[in-house]
């Protein structure tokens, strides 16, 4: 029962990742790709948290912190240069 639930959880996260990646590949504008990348990093963070709970490894939460900070800084940097471009 629990195993089936874990498969469902990871499948939902994977499907979200695939959809975000399709948007990253299709665009059509540069900001679309930036927000797709933002969503991908949030989904990766979700994966790490799910993995940490599944295998009882609390140390992985530190990775989630770093990923959250890096994704925020990346989006802000992209936005800064996008706005300076015009």
């Amino acid at each position: 029962m629990t195993d089936a639930l874990w498969i469902l959880i990871l499948a939902l996260l994977s499907a979200g990742l695939v959809f975000a990646f399709i948007r990253l590949a299709r665009g059509p504008y540069l900001p679309d790709r930036v927000i797709a990348l933002d969503l991908i990093s949030i989904l990766a963070m979700g994966f790490i948290v799910a993995y940490a709970v599944r295998f009882d490894q609390p140390n992985f939460l530190d990775v989630a912190i770093i990923l959250a900070i890096i994704s925020f800084l990346g989006t802000v940097a992209f936005a800064y240069y996008l706005e300076r471009r015009v």
């Binding site: 939902l12 933002d38 989904l43 959250a68």
Partner: protein, 141 residues
């Protein structure tokens, strides 16, 4: 046992909301609507997953770490979404065809990027809808 059920339920809801964020990212018609799906559904999904982790581990230090990530996400996600939306608006990303009104149009000064309450003179405005329609959506513009 009860705690385990709660953890699994929170994980499931969190993963479901992240899935919804992915669907919104793929299916929403323009950038600004897509942005709302990542900023809200994505943050809610991540928050639920982290809450599940905080309950699962039960340890004070780990729960504090998980709650710190939730607070950080809730503080930064709207800021990042606003910055990228503002940059995209200046960059000339067109709105969806079904948009009824755009209150910002004609109120941003193109030279200084300042927002003003009075209407901006014609020569200092951002390019309007008709002009954006002719623009090609490419990466290198």
């Amino acid at each position: 046992m009860l705690g385990e059920i709660l953890v699994m339920a929170l994980m499931l809801f969190g993963a479901f909301f992240m899935f919804l964020a992915g669907i919104g990212m793929l299916r929403m018609p323009d950038l600004f609507l897509r942005m709302s799906s990542t900023a809200k559904a994505g943050t809610l999904g991540a928050g639920l997953l982290l809450l599940a982790a905080a309950i699962h581990f039960g340890d004070f230090a780990i729960a504090t770490r998980a709650l710190a990530i939730i607070v950080f996400l809730m503080l930064t996600a709207p800021v990042a979404a606003h910055m990228i939306g503002r940059a995209a608006y200046f960059d000339g990303v067109p709105l969806w065809k079904g948009t009824i009104r755009d209150d910002l149009r004609g109120h941003y000064r193109a030279s200084t990027h300042a927002l003003e309450t009075t209407a901006i003179p014609e020569e200092d405005r951002l390019p309007d809808e008709a002009e954006l329609e002719t623009r090609k959506p490419d990466l290198d513009r």
